[in-house]
């Protein structure tokens, strides 16, 4: 228990001091994960909605893949992206390995399936509820899709933040493709791994506390926004 209370003190100390290294690490974590989630949202939301509403060849396979990819081990994704971006890989010439961009790419692979699969479920449920009624009112396919996405917007935002939760918390992929380089690709999770291995349990725990607090802030912000919106129009 002593470790934990000391870690809390240390965490508070670090935050109050506005330790520049800490701020850099936290900022990069947020930057990488938010960028990845934004891109994953751009791909995952329409993909999920299309899988829910349209029948096309290969749809079943895509759904199965998506559900499998939801649980992909981050290290494996990291390894694959590493191979693609490494000097001898197909995109090696871009020189992206061990940059924040590489970390974003890896996280996009991790987060897109989550957003797409959750979106598919959300839109499918809404479609079950609304389809007959909207059709009888005269809605055609494009109207229908727009309406369903708009009606489920709060759930969709929650889905996107489920993806953010995965991105900000994972260590395997960013460690492999980022390399945990100080002042360059070091983020919260890779720092925690590093400090733990160096025996700086206190600092590692302090970073852990900050990470959890950040997640908590983001999650409760989303939840309260959703709640407020829900109260307006149930």
């Amino acid at each position: 228990m002593n470790d934990f209370s000391q870690a809390f003190l240390k965490a508070i100390q670090l935050i109050i001091q506005l330790d520049p290294d800490l701020i850099e690490i936290v900022a990069l974590s947020l930057q990488v994960s938010l960028t990845a989630v934004f891109i994953a949202g751009l791909i995952g939301l329409p993909l999920g909605a299309a899988l829910a509403l349209y029948r096309f060849f290969g749809r079943g396979l895509l759904v199965a893949l998506l559900n499998t990819f939801m649980g992909l081990p981050p290290v494996v994704v990291g390894l694959v992206v590493y191979l693609i971006l490494s000097r001898s890989g197909p995109l090696g010439a871009l020189g992206l390995l061990f940059t924040p961009t590489a970390m974003v790419i890896a996280q996009v692979f991790l987060v897109t399936p989550i957003i797409a699969a959750l979106t598919r479920q959300t839109v499918m449920d809404a479609n079950d509820e609304f389809h007959a009624q909207l059709r009888a009112l005269g809605a055609k396919s494009p109207n229908m899709m727009n309406t369903l996405l708009w009606e489920t917007r709060y759930s969709l935002v929650t889905n996107v933040f489920a993806g953010f939760g995965r991105a900000i918390a994972e260590v395997g992929a960013v460690l492999i493709v980022g390399g945990n380089i100080n002042h360059n690709t070091r983020v919260m999770t890779t720092s925690i791994a590093l400090e733990t291995s160096k025996g700086n349990i206190e600092l590692a725990l302090a970073l852990g506390v900050i990470l959890i607090t950040l997640s908590l802030i983001v999650t409760s912000a989303v939840m309260s926004a959703r709640h407020a919106a829900h109260k307006m129009y149930t």
């Binding site: 007959a132 009888a136 009112l137 809605a139 129009y233």
Partner: protein, 242 residues
């Protein structure tokens, strides 16, 4: 698009079977008069299915159903459909009406006028800003009718519109239906309630097990049913046929 009258509604040799069950069996009918036509029959008679086909929501296996020689499609604004259980968007009463008008590309300037009318007719003026999903059951069904009425359709199809309502809710909806019929909108509705059919119907299509047993003026149906099945139904002897 239909420019003239939607009538006559001509149903010829209409048959539907699903999973080996004959749901509609060679139905032939011609509806040519304005006013309120009631499709009457016990549960499972095929009433709702017939109404769905009339709105283009389902297609028959064989035969045809034509509005003035025209096969219905759901997106035609001259015809509106009212479900027993409405689903509303998570928006205000007014926005739910706007939604339908926008679907049919009614100009914004005309929208407000039509919405005012529909709200006034259905007594929902005070509730226009309220979330549709927080309305009471009776209010929701009034909004359901308003949503169908707002396009000023020539035909309104209602599927058991009062089945879930309390007596005062039933009375309100029936009054609305009469009012709509008086404004020259053709009403076709299903019900399993004899009392309701007695109160509203000008003519009656009596269905049983997917077959049309009789199509007669309401007066004739209730005073001297032509068939023994209809007589049994009137006497309360014809029960569920699931």
């Amino acid at each position: 698009m239909l420019s003239a009258s939607p009538l006559p509604l001509k149903i010829q040799q209409l048959s539907v079977s699903r999973q080996g069950k004959q749901l509609l069996d060679n139905v032939n009918a011609m509806i040519d008069s304005a006013g309120i036509t009631i499709i009457l029959g016990p549960n499972g008679a095929g009433k709702s299915l017939l109404l769905h086909i009339a709105h283009g929501l389902e297609e028959p296996d064989r035969g045809s159903l034509l509005w003035n020689q025209h096969t219905p499609k759901p997106q035609e604004p001259w015809r509106a459909f009212v479900f027993q259980k409405p689903v509303f968007l998570q928006r205000s009463v007014q926005s739910n009406l706007e939604y339908v008008l926008s679907l049919h590309k009614v100009p914004k300037t005309r929208q407000s006028l039509l919405i005012q009318q529909a709200l006034q007719h259905t007594g929902l003026m005070q509730l226009s800003g309220q979330s549709a999903r927080t309305l009471s059951g009776g209010e929701q069904q009034r909004l359901n009718v308003a949503r169908a009425w707002v396009l000023e359709p020539k035909v309104m199809l209602l599927d058991e519109p009062t089945a879930e309502l309390d007596p005062s809710g039933v009375a309100t909806i029936e009054m609305l239906i009469r009012k709509i019929a008086q404004q020259n909108t053709k009403i076709i509705m299903t019900t399993h309630s004899l009392d309701q059919a007695r109160r509203l119907a000008h003519d009656i299509l009596f269905l049983h097990r997917g077959k049309l047993i009789e199509h007669t003026p309401a007066k004739v149906y209730f005073s001297q049913p032509k068939t023994s099945l209809a007589a049994d139904f009137l006497a309360g002897k014809l029960l569920d046929t699931h």
